[in-house]
Symmetry: C2
Subunit: 286 residues, 2 copies
């Protein structure tokens, strides 16, 4: 474990969080790292509200760049998903300065648009994993502890078990990845184990998104697909007839992409860390 | 008006229709063309039920090919949208024989996946317009009359007003087009006036899909975007703050795609016909 203090900055590229979330996370972090081995800073932008978003696009992009470009921080931690990251990706990517490259970036769900872009431009410590808002989930403390243990110590037990030195990895929300396909934000996932998860979508939408993902020629060059949890599936009228694993197997079979089984990720407290790229590349703090 | 009888075959590439829909459409068609200038055949597959779909994938693909490859029919009319066309596109496209090329194809919504593929492989009379199921809408008779008038006579008053000889055109459901981007099914829309419509989606989803569509480099080569109706928009929590036209204008502005105003298409009885490609190309029956 590093003796150097890890300074984590939280920003909200999509939806806002409450002060209560920040207070809970700070309290838990203080109890986990009583020696002051880490510090968490919640950017005030996290608590703003602008319609659907935690502040308007400019405000969210500026906040992200504030902390990404500031040498005072070691990690940029996404406060929450929701919706809005895709609206600020361009401004963020073109505004990144040299200090941003040395940092860890952690988030998932809607944040996948930003993670994809950061990974595409060569950032070496970008990962799919729990966010601050997850403290409100059942057992959410465990998710926060896992996120901190990865950002502060690169603790190996935080990783999804399939993360190893033998394959590159990547993880995405199914709907979010679908909405990047064909754009300059689509990452090169050749040879990666691609883990996918979903929440609050009807089964026909999951089917349609997996048709899309597995039909894209770049995605067909992945090493294989693993399916995380698909939770809170909304009613399908009429019943779709097959479940999410059968759907994923169907599209893997049809597209020739290897089916690699289930992944331990999802919109829940058990959501494990999946670094983008080679696990060895991010085995020490960036 | 052609004196040659127009023979229309109805198939259901996605969801099924009821016998009642077929009866109503046949009765209306008989009253509109009492001289026997047209005939409608409902493939029995239209009435099948297999989970979400009007028969399983093989059954739906075979039914489509039955009528597309049969010289006895002049037009293939999609019975209904729903979901499922993307699951049979590959089988359909690889199963098409020579007689299929001389036919008219008409549908919209989920059927956009098939229309895109038919247009991509060079079929010259493919159009976005009302389907048999639309007879159940308020004023649905008008939609059916319009569809028949286009299939039978190429009646110019059936066309969306922006359809002219000066630009190629294409029309899609927003979500359906989004799910084709980056795949081999994405049509070449360079220089086209692209009309888009939506139904039953939350505003944040419309925003995300328009981010996707306007970020794709091929789509950026369209002549411009026109927005059809976005109906039955589901609640956005919190309120999204801007409406569908503001969303579309935002993404056109950001992407540099010309905003060309509103289009007279949508999930309603007023849904006008939009041929794919050059309007002059489809001015006579294929």
């Amino acid at each position: 474990m590093s003796k150097v203090k890890c300074r984590i900055a939280v920003v909200a590229p999509a939806s806002s969080i409450s002060q209560q979330v920040a207070d809970k996370v700070r309290a838990l972090a203080g109890s986990l790292y009583p020696d002051g081995g880490m510090e968490i800073f919640f950017h005030p932008q996290c608590f703003l509200s602008h319609g659907h978003f935690a502040g308007n696009d400019d405000t969210r992009a500026r906040a992200f760049l504030d902390v990404a470009n500031d040498d005072a921080y070691d990690a940029v931690w996404f406060a929450r998903g929701g919706y809005g990251s895709c609206r600020i990706v361009e401004e963020v990517i073109f505004g990144l300065k040299e200090p941003s490259k040395r940092k860890t970036y952690l988030g998932y769900s809607d944040g996948g648009a930003l993670l994809a872009a950061l990974y595409s431009v060569g950032f070496e410590a970008t990962a799919h994993g729990p966010m601050a808002q997850d403290i409100l989930r059942d057992g959410g403390d465990v998710a926060i502890k896992r996120a901190l243990a990865w950002m502060v110590e690169r603790a190996p037990e935080t990783l999804e078990p399939a993360v190893s030195g033998s394959h590159k990895t990547a993880a995405f929300n199914i709907t979010v990845l679908s909405h990047l396909l064909g754009t300059p934000l689509q990452p090169n996932l050749d040879g990666h184990v691609l883990m996918l998860e979903e929440v609050s979508e009807a089964m026909y939408r999951i089917d349609r998104s997996l048709f899309h993902i597995t039909s894209e020629p770049g995605i067909r060059r992945v090493a294989g697909i693993m399916l995380g949890r698909c939770s809170d599936i909304t009613p399908n009228k009429p019943d779709f007839g097959i479940n999410e694993e059968e759907v994923a197997r169907y599209w893997c079979d049809k597209s020739g992409i290897p089916w690699l089984g289930r992944a331990d990720i999802g919109h829940d407290a058990n959501n494990k860390i999946v670094p983008f790229g080679s696990a060895t590349r991010v085995s020490t703090r960036a």
